[in-house]
Symmetry: C2
Subunit: 246 residues, 2 copies
DNA sequence: CGCCGACTTGAGAAATATCAATCTTCGTGG
DNA sequence: CCACGAAGATTGATATTTCTCAAGTCGGCG
């Protein structure tokens, strides 16, 4: 059975972990595997499933008609996606595998029923939706106001926080990160060349380095100082969304 | 009583309009007025209300510790906001009045009850949440990939579309728009100086002009051609979110 | 009248993109 | 085990976009 640790979810405190475990019961027996670069959910299709990422990284990406591309969300193990499709029509953007991944599928119909009868399930799903909005808000702030340096510092720290418990610490100072610099550019709204140059500067300044798909944070304080302006207040206050009592 | 037309919501087809009317019954008797620049919802506070914007423009804005600011959402008449606070803990960002506004307040408690018993209410609220995410996705694409010109063209067209029915056409070629160039910059992630220069170019090229808080679109086709790469597929397909049957 | 906020414009600086070569790594077939 | 090829990373030179700073200008309003 999956648990919060295996799912790498620092935020999943007890009630969320409970909901997460209960999702197992709704999960189709055999997880599906996709190779890096594969398309997990096609653009604009309707489909009867909600997904939970079991291993690997995935991302929602929008392809512009002229060839540009922009990632709209990065999913790490434990994240639910296409969750809103359980409640509304399909999303217009594809979800692709950023590394080799395995995903679990949940039938929309059964999830909807469980959502209405089981508060823990409802909390787990609601948390995902709210968390996703929080990330989008931060993303807008990052793209709108952050310099390349700030954006990169911020995103590397965010991944670190989200992966934290996987390494048994509250923050991973070293973690696997499958994105190419090109993909990182499409996450951050920068060209891969510029991502590369900024990463070099950060490496030369001893803040952080990426080698072999592994991020190593050498000076967490300095990196946080850099990303500080983009840091969202929710994290500072350690606030957690709580289900309002109906 | 409010109706879809007065609320300026092109998207509110019958079932949404029905939910909208039903919200009237949940609305506190006296709408509140705020002057331009006023704070409707303070940053980080808990409050027992959901709001519906009746007249004027408002925006959710994040202030960075170093003085920068970034808007996360622009609300037009008819929009519900702080809606998620009915289901989860408070949002960390303030909502401010971009013009003189009047807002209606809805008690969270009563809205939650109505949400669970009335499908039209549920649809109306769900639509708002999904719509907000759609806008955020487009915003990320715009900030991440759009040039200043594209972003400005795109946002002016978006406002036009959202206000459309107010002028009795499907698209307003002329509409009031209370944002200063400074605020527009904080929406688009640009400085007001640059916003100004780009607007001048667009004006000189005969695409669009802003005078006296009024946007006049002189060449809709050319403006759309400019914004085309940022246009979201949902609009092209005229897809509308539909409540899945539980 | 005179001030204040918003808009406008200019000059120059900084950030980021573009184009074009390498260089490295790594898997794969011979 | 090696050669090769492809994809990603790195770097340089240059162009473009956007910002910064500074100085007006314009229009409404007390």
């Amino acid at each position: 059975m999956l648990n919060a640790n295996r799912l790498h979810r620092p935020e999943l405190t007890a009630p969320l972990a409970g909901g997460d475990r209960k999702l197992d019961a709704l999960t189709a027996p055999n997880p599906r595997a996709f190779p890096a670069g594969g398309t997990i959910v096609e653009q604009g299709t309707e489909h009867g499933f909600v997904y939970r990422l079991r291993t690997g990284w995935a991302g929602r990406v929008r392809a512009l008609p002229d060839g540009r591309a922009q990632y709209l969300m990065v999913f790490l193990p434990g994240d639910l996606f296409a969750i809103k499709s359980a409640f509304v029509a399909a999303h217009p953007d594809a979800v692709v595998a950023l590394s080799d991944v395995t995903v679990e599928r949940l039938e929309q119909q059964r999830l909807r029923e469980a959502f209405q009868t089981d508060p823990e399930i409802a909390l787990r799903c609601t948390w995902q939706i709210v968390e996703e909005e929080r990330r989008l808000h931060n993303w807008v702030v990052s793209l709108g106001q952050g310099s390349a340096e700030e954006r990169i510092a911020h995103v590397l720290l965010e991944f670190s926080l989200r992966l934290g418990p996987a390494q048994g610490t509250s923050r991973s100072l070293e973690y696997g990160m499958p994105l190419t610099q090109d993909q990182l550019g499409n996450v951050l709204g920068l060209t891969s060349v510029h991502v590369n140059r900024v990463l070099r500067r950060l490496r030369e300044d001893g803040l952080v380095s990426i080698r072999n798909r592994v991020v190593a944070i050498h000076d967490p304080e300095a990196l946080e100082r850099l990303a500080e302006p983009l840091r969202d207040a929710t994290l500072k206050a350690k606030a957690r969304p709580e289900l309002a009592v109906g």
